[in-house]
Symmetry: C2
Subunit: 246 residues, 2 copies
DNA sequence: ACACGTTCTACCATTGAATGGAAGGTATCG
DNA sequence: CGATACCTTCCATTCAATGGTAGAACGTGT
């Protein structure tokens, strides 16, 4: 499956073109895109033009390439997390109003928490969890809440391959965190992501007793209202779970 | 550019596969997908498998096809509307808090308003404008706000091709609406989308004086507080515009 | 328990679509 | 005004993509 001398198929290249955009970058010059995707300029040009004819990309005058509005629309309409987000939104809004803090919703993808929805409140503490952002399992309360409710096999594999780039955390520490989170029914991390913030997250369990998401808040370190936060989160998480089909 | 007997290229087919999912449907059987995309089963199978190897699709056991989490992530991270949404979010939250109503943000795509962000409040009236949803220009306040600030050429072309499927609205009526919206600086529609709701939207203008979005609210028909709503929206829209680079 | 329908998956000889270097066009800069 | 950098088009060559066919794996009704 590779017509090109470099040995990749058209599909490979389409994927690489879409992946070529660095995080947060919405626009790229054709030459740079070709460079990043590792595709000869003329081939990249042809490919981009084809994709933009279908609206998946947007090839502007002067070779400016953006992702297409149509692609954004299609993906968001039919996203695999659509049902989850729809079920969760009302409850997230409740949490935001009652606790007056940042709320976020994450799913586990690989060994990272992928944030699929977020409500932030002006004036509340900084929230690093951007929508479509990722955080490693071991330094996010959402990640810990998710991983602590996975099967023994998944957890074992995760811990086996665990490695902290910064070298500050060992697998044993993470094991301890996970055990604690599993036992308590929620995960918390103080001052890890941001020195002055505190993250708390609880698992969202669907009808088949599978943990499909984590519902979390980020609050100022000063506000130690664990007694108030955790029950509210757990109640909301149960509500979300009840509204999930699978 | 077509190896297939049907005369479409690999790119065409990739696009059709992604487009094959009906609105709101997150999962499709392989056979149905092949059918909808108009691709022979064996070819569809091969294509889907390739895409799922890259994470753009998710081919589950038994031929269940979903859009990939990775695709959602990539598109949302690098979405062309990213800057707009980031600039708008704080202001939308302000509006939501102050007016205590549904807030939404739309861009013009073709002759429809495409809703790119939305904040709904529990207890507030129903809001038809789903994220990544579309509404025709002539029956949405956001659409009217956007179109009324387009160039004469665009408006002329729109009105020329205008046709209401329901036949209730004529081009002249729309022309009147647009003129009114342009003159007033905001667009409003009462009871059109939903009999008991009222939509108001104002244009968001960027540094280059181009109207790039519409900021709107949906309120109960009873609450006729135009005097309070419009200035608040216009202030927020100005704030958003100031924060937009281009 | 059996036969039938349905759907997924794998195979492989044929064929024409995809490839990318080269050349032409256009804008920007010192 | 030459030089550089970028976008765009062209076209002969070649090997990846194609899809009919057949088999495997279910599920379902009799």
């Amino acid at each position: 499956m590779a017509n090109s001398t470099s040995g990749d198929s058209v599909v490979d290249r389409v994927v690489r073109v879409i992946e070529a955009f660095p995080e947060g970058v919405t626009s790229l010059q054709l030459t740079e895109l070709a460079d990043r995707a590792g595709i000869p300029l003329s081939s990249a040009h042809r490919l981009v033009r084809q994709l933009s004819e279908h609206g998946l990309l947007d090839l502007g005058a002067g070779g400016t390439v953006r992702l297409g509005l149509r692609l954004w629309e299609l993906v968001n309409r039919n996203s695999p997390t659509l049902a989850l987000r729809q079920a969760a939104m009302p409850f997230m809004e409740d949490i935001q109003q009652v606790l007056n803090q940042n709320v976020n919703l994450a799913v586990l993808d690989g060994w990272e928490a992928l944030f699929v929805e977020r409500l932030s409140r002006r004036g509340s503490v900084a929230n690093r969890a951007r929508i479509a952002g990722r955080m490693p399992v071991h330094i996010s309360s959402a990640g810990l809440a998710l991983m602590s409710h996975q099967s023994r096999e998944v957890q074992a594999e995760y811990l086996e391959h665990f490695q902290d780039p910064s070298g500050k955390v060992t697998a044993d520490v993470v094991r301890h965190f996970l055990a604690e989170a599993a036992q308590q029914g929620y995960a918390q991390l103080a001052g890890v992501v941001d020195p002055d913030t505190w993250g708390i997250a609880v698992p969202v369990v669907n009808g088949k007793r599978r943990t499909v998401a984590a519902l979390g808040v980020v609050v100022p370190l000063a506000e130690m209202r664990l007694q108030a936060l955790v029950p509210a989160l757990q109640t909301a998480a149960r509500g979300i779970g009840r509204h999930l089909a699978d």
